[in-house]
Symmetry: C2
Subunit: 992 residues, 2 copies
Amino acid sequence: PAEEVVVADGEALLSRDHISSFEKFAGRHIGPREADVKEMLHCVGISSLNELVQKTIPKEIQFNKELSIQKPLSESELLDRLNKLGEANKIYRSYIGMGYYNTITPSVIQRVILENPGWYTQYTPYQPEIAQGRLESLMNYQTMISDLTGMAVSNASLLDEATACAEAMAMCYATRKKKTTNVFLVDDKSHPQNIELMRTRASGMDITIRVADFSNWTENKELEDDVCGVLIQYPDTLGRVSDPSLIVGSAHKAGAQVVMSTDLLALTHIKPPGELGADIVVGNAQRFGVPLGYGGPHAAFMATNEKMVRKMPGRIVGKSRDRHGNEAYRLALQVREQHIRREKATSNICTAQALLANMSAFYAIYHGPNGLKDIASRVHTQASVLATGVQALGHKVMYDTFFDTVCVELMEGTTLADIEMRAVAKELNVRLIKNKTTDAVCVAVDETTTEADLDDLLWVFGGKTNQIVKVADFLDAHRTRSLTGFKYPQELVRKSEYLTHSVFNSHHSEAAITRYAKKLENKDLSLCHAMIPLGSCTMKLNGVATLRALSMPNFTNIHPFVPLDQAKGYYEIFEELSKDLCEISGYDSISLQPNSGAQGEYAGLMAIRAYLDSKGDDQRDVCLIPSSAHGTNPASAQMCGMKVVAVRNDAHGNIDMADLKAKVNKHSEKLAAMMITYPSTYGVFEEGVSKMCDLVHQHGGQVYLDGANMNAQVGLCRPGDFGSDVSHFNLHKTFCIPHGGGGPGMGPIGVKAHLAPFLPAHNIVNIPGGGLGDAKNDGHSDQALGLISGAPFGSSAILPISWAYIRMMGPGIVNSTHIAILSANYLAARLRGHYEILYTGSGGMCAHEFILDVRKFQQSAGIESIDISKRLIDYGFHSPTMSWPVNNTLMIEPTESESKEELDRFCEALIAIRAEIREIEEDVCDRSDNVLKNAPHTAEEVSSDVWEHTYTRTKAAWPAEFQRLNKFWPTVGRVDDVYGDRNLNCTLDVEV
Amino acid sequence: PAEEVVVADGEALLSRDHISSFEKFAGRHIGPREADVKEMLHCVGISSLNELVQKTIPKEIQFNKELSIQKPLSESELLDRLNKLGEANKIYRSYIGMGYYNTITPSVIQRVILENPGWYTQYTPYQPEIAQGRLESLMNYQTMISDLTGMAVSNASLLDEATACAEAMAMCYATRKKKTTNVFLVDDKSHPQNIELMRTRASGMDITIRVADFSNWTENKELEDDVCGVLIQYPDTLGRVSDPSLIVGSAHKAGAQVVMSTDLLALTHIKPPGELGADIVVGNAQRFGVPLGYGGPHAAFMATNEKMVRKMPGRIVGKSRDRHGNEAYRLALQVREQHIRREKATSNICTAQALLANMSAFYAIYHGPNGLKDIASRVHTQASVLATGVQALGHKVMYDTFFDTVCVELMEGTTLADIEMRAVAKELNVRLIKNKTTDAVCVAVDETTTEADLDDLLWVFGGKTNQIVKVADFLDAHRTRSLTGFKYPQELVRKSEYLTHSVFNSHHSEAAITRYAKKLENKDLSLCHAMIPLGSCTMKLNGVATLRALSMPNFTNIHPFVPLDQAKGYYEIFEELSKDLCEISGYDSISLQPNSGAQGEYAGLMAIRAYLDSKGDDQRDVCLIPSSAHGTNPASAQMCGMKVVAVRNDAHGNIDMADLKAKVNKHSEKLAAMMITYPSTYGVFEEGVSKMCDLVHQHGGQVYLDGANMNAQVGLCRPGDFGSDVSHFNLHKTFCIPHGGGGPGMGPIGVKAHLAPFLPAHNIVNIPGGGLGDAKNDGHSDQALGLISGAPFGSSAILPISWAYIRMMGPGIVNSTHIAILSANYLAARLRGHYEILYTGSGGMCAHEFILDVRKFQQSAGIESIDISKRLIDYGFHSPTMSWPVNNTLMIEPTESESKEELDRFCEALIAIRAEIREIEEDVCDRSDNVLKNAPHTAEEVSSDVWEHTYTRTKAAWPAEFQRLNKFWPTVGRVDDVYGDRNLNCTLDVEV
Ligand SMILES: Cc1ncc(COP(=O)(O)O)c(C=O)c1O
Ligand SMILES: Cc1ncc(COP(=O)(O)O)c(C=O)c1O
Ligand SMILES: O=C([O-])O
């Protein structure tokens, strides 16, 4: 709470400060209390936070000022402000479509999933034994995608439909027949943002995008033989449902793969891509219950066939078995991912959209196959009614085989401007398409559309004549009449079943779905139970107040492509957030478009390339990356067409200066960039970072500083000051967006002024060029990069979270950094003597995280880091990051939000585990049958009738006193990864 | 979901019905699907729901029509409507005080407690082994109340401050020295609604209220010797803090008890009542984080000394131990309560305000003692600033020893009308007091008040002269200045500590409080885990959509005493709800004031008394009550000054007609009323209920039909049609208000037209006389009853829940009733053959619940109902109602919201338990060491190293296959009630 005010004798302390001294959020966000901080400092052997900073952060890069951020708002002041900003947004009804639709989020899903910290505070389910709940939910999601698309396997989500298209393109490219087969052929009726984003991505790789009209494709038309893949939008962006068989046939004949980008709701009615020969299917699951949110977050999906599964990017959940032979889920085929494949990866995707995938899966469970089909029928009926009405008004319906989107050619005398004016009068948005030949208007209806909405839409089409047609005029209220004009092509009517698994057919009452969601929640260890000390993940508190915008209709119900003046509240938040991020990072300008850290890396490196190109330095394509870097770094560099050159780390974990110098010299001509993670992935503030930056600059390169570890820097040092040119910020780490069990996240980038003109633009919404947050920026850029995300500001709906966090912390945000560093050093100090701590800075301090070296136990006791990880579960804790960045070690990051009591309990557990290892070392315990090797222990196991271990049940399950009244039980025993990958199964088996 | 619409060939089904066919809530609310219903009917041996009705409900009382209720809204239509209604409320800032204050609900408490079904769907913690979470939370609450009031013990909440005053009065009366000591002396500076409510209550009992001015009490002034108790408001209603010692001394000298009604926040600064000699302390915990909600729900409190604890009404949580000797909480001293003491009870309170008590306790945990003191300091400072400003404007501050409420005597020339006009201009409410001598204005500030608010308030006091004084004018921004004018009397400054227990001093970060709340949540079995088949409790689903108003600021931020025109949205809901309740019940008019079922009973019986009085029948004071009636019935009758005469039940559980006739004849002259529960507490639709009503009417009595079992009647029969004059409706049963672990609830009453003039009025808000919902009612009544609750519409904020339920069900609400009855009969049919079912109607059917007779197992196996109850926990189920209305039986009520799968699991468990009993009967298992006697089994026990039972661990803990992956563990073993009552401990022991 705020400073204590003593009112000993009832005398009022009168000051304006006092009457306005609403309680500060900082005391809620930061775990340790003042007295705790003293004890922690004492334990670390220093006397003040200032001394801690001095010993931790190299002198020459220290910031030494107070951040110029508005003074903190209290929680209730923040909510007042948020309400006002919400009112500044205009909530028009949007019928724009283009992959984003209004949807009804069932209240129970909103409350029990989206607004429940038990569902949104977890990390990616890397520890399957305490993550069976959301693993099962993601299996449901994958099954839903597989079923609806008609494909064999699905991944557990991608970022958005546009990036999913690009990922699919990369897969086609990676599996192309010959080096020269580098054309990707794109349907000209694809959503324009998809095309534009693929163009961006193609430009970094060796791919040529060719846009073509597939509508008049003929039987024997041959594909050029330089084509590696074809993308078909189905239904297309103008709403038309047409049979892609001819182009699919030509593609396959030519050895090209077929990608289809599609709509899940339409697939309940029309033949799935899998039955039409698609090799890869992508799309967005948004309209399955996830609010528009001005562009995101939503879960995009990708599904493919068995042949391609090992090439599919993103996480995949699969079935395996546990130590006892019971069924258990876990992440499958992890060797595909960038942290293993690095620059050989075809994708850099890491954080995806798990929470939103889960919401969509629950939406399908809630409605079931019949319910979904029913919604689709209503939507289709409404579109047909609209089309009929529009025709009655004299316009032409351009395509009569639509699902939900009616494309209208305006009659003589009615102009786009007329439509626009009338739409504004009714507070609604439609899609206006200016064509060389004719103008068109597209209207996409959805499950929220009512008869009154249709009447308003028809009013809009009334045009200048002001003719009024109402639904009631041509549809009798009670008689069921069928209009034959609007039906799907006979051969495209879906005949196959979907969502036949019982999970989609048994939780239809609210009580049932609540229990199912709670059952899954309770299998998972989240921040609601204990700290999650995952190094490099910054699992800090996600304060409820910061999340409120996500539940406010005037933030959630906005289509990403509305005119900017309908999103003024958002825009004010974006501007403030960008300004604050500039102040915190020392950069000049921000792009909020990248919707994950990896996307930020990609956008930043692409901006560097564009900048170098603009200077005529287009030969520069070497990217230096320390071998300790996160896998997304090399993967991103590769996607930009850069050549990755690894720089060695020295014995202290630092970048090997000699090697760097050598590499810089060697590649001087071609040096494009160096990527540095700071503090390093080893958790150390390396000395000489500015020297490295200078060196790179001297050789004509640019510096990309990976901002994943910003939580150690905020208020203490600024990348923009000490030499970096660009960074991404994982808002889902340092800036409090909850991890959602594997996403959403946001990875905006900050750049120095010279790179600002090269920040991403948007082809549909006219966002200011040159980024946000820079007072000097004139909001115009000819050199802007293409799209990085489908939506102009990425996953806009979660940006208010980071904004709120900064607003409530104010300049005191530096205290988060202090305590994050102190907490890490406190843990290190307490554990030292029991374990070896790998790497510290020159002052003997680690940054906000550190590595526990457990490698010697392999020899001494046959124990590896995984055994300690799993044993921690028996103590009620989530494991630290396992075997990254150093194999067979544990990287611990406590964050500032954990109380000293929690830190102490965690130490107690690790110290006790050390003693358990010693018992093995000293042969007191068996080398193969011991509490570590067999960990974690389930309730079922320790309460079974037979117990044949060499240790007791109590030792197995109740190792610490602090669990006695609050034990978290894993629901499965240790999961067998190899078995699962050998017997890959990523969809639910339908029960017989 | 809605009916399936087949779109086989892509042809649109065009009809207006179809495009508007949004999914219905009924399918979400009702558990069994259509196919299930068929199977269930088959099992019961009937062919249709209509046949079920015919066999269950006596012909002559069947309704046989569709209810005339608006057609159902879908969930999203409902939310749209609710938003519009919210906009119809005017959200002015209220500084009215009088026991209701603005407060800031910390977002984390709102989300993790108030909006979390894991906290709001439980029943009263009658099964302590699966309720340790909220029992601990209520212990925290009691400790908070004890500490702040300075009293030895507190109960776990009462309904509101006004009823708490009346309860205290009743305690004083019950413990009075002599029969003639029947005067209760009340501070004339008490909140007027408290005085008025005590007047109502006193009128039913033999108590005389005498209102007195205590402000000039002198040292030796003696109390009249007919006084049994004194009530002091502290601080008083005008805000003054004055020393009550003289009146306390006089009271004690005269043998009267002292009740103090107080304010928790003030008590962080001023001497607690316990140190001033109070015997009983009451008040409202609302301002500890519970929104105003236009009057409630909030938790009132009562604390007393050890001498009086056994006389204290309401539930009390106490510490005891479990079978293993571990500490465990449970409800203490249950023998005090009305279900045991019946007409000898001094109180009828049953459902209280557990959820709100828990919120307030969490608010105290969140802020801790220093945080609370800090808030109080800010509030006091603001009041002082306001007083200073008001003086500067030329007005007189009437009392200078205030805490938060400034009472202003207006200067010459400024009138109340001026103030009122200016307040409206600023959209704020103050309290205007028209006095014989001078007019006054009271302003109560609170933790939400800002400097801008104070400036607005000072503007309001500017009066005609339009003089402007701003806080900044007389308070320098940075200098701390103390004004000596406004301080508490020296002797009243609080010196003693409070909230010293660690629970109030260790969960101050949001992460810590989240984990604490989740830890407690996870100890409790709620509707999120399994059905809670408590007979007479109707534990049905509480749909999230129905609860939304509770999270909407334009429903929550309204003071109960604002002018009606600021609450138009609420009022529209009240009118619709009342009309629907009239239609459902067959009554003519509704009062929404009673805030629990028991309060409804009391209000209904009082209305009967007033009606009889108005006819000159004031000798009529006999109330006939079947001996099977719920304990609140006789307790309520007694509180109205009626004499309870019990009517016997016959061997079939029905009211013994012969006995009834005899009693009616015997008491014909004095017959006031008969109370009937229908269907009976045995779960049977008795034949002849209309005959009984006729009989009572013939003898000049009125019929009170207890509406607790309305869930069996809605849409099928109507009390108002078959002869009843008045009923209460437990909205927290039939109409979906969640039980909150023991409240909140609402008990509005419906009456026939002749009783309407006698419905409660309100002394502050001019609510329409004669109740709501009656088109013919002219909204005026001279004969109205006094107050039943402090607020005009009771716990207004939860009324939208019932409204929403009815709006979304529409006339189809009758399907809830069908399925509730079917489900009970299905369970009975499945269990018959394994157990005996006590009582059914003449058609062989039970109503919505039934009694399982387990009495014979006492003899055959030494097993009692409690053993089965506890064993059900091992199967993951909550026990049915135990030993009520028939001792040593189990009463089962499934409700319509449970799926057939859940009902089947429950049967499976009970059938398996029957087999376990048989093993004892057949000597296969030990009579004392068996799974029933030792149930429930904790994880600790079954995983302990030593196992000395005669049965296996697996049998103990894993009796059913369906639990394998989803086991709910009780956190303590069977709790020892006797030990706890012998060693009463109702506050947390402060750790040393
Ligand atoms: C150092 C580092 N860089 C980049 C990333 C990638 O960020 P994202 O997962 O948001 O794509 C991570 C993610 O853990 C990281 O730790
Ligand atoms: C038959 C019956 N009547 C009255 C009541 C009292 O209602 P309340 O608890 O709301 O005061 C109950 C409560 O369970 C009941 O079952
Ligand atoms: O709570 C009851 O007493 O039913």
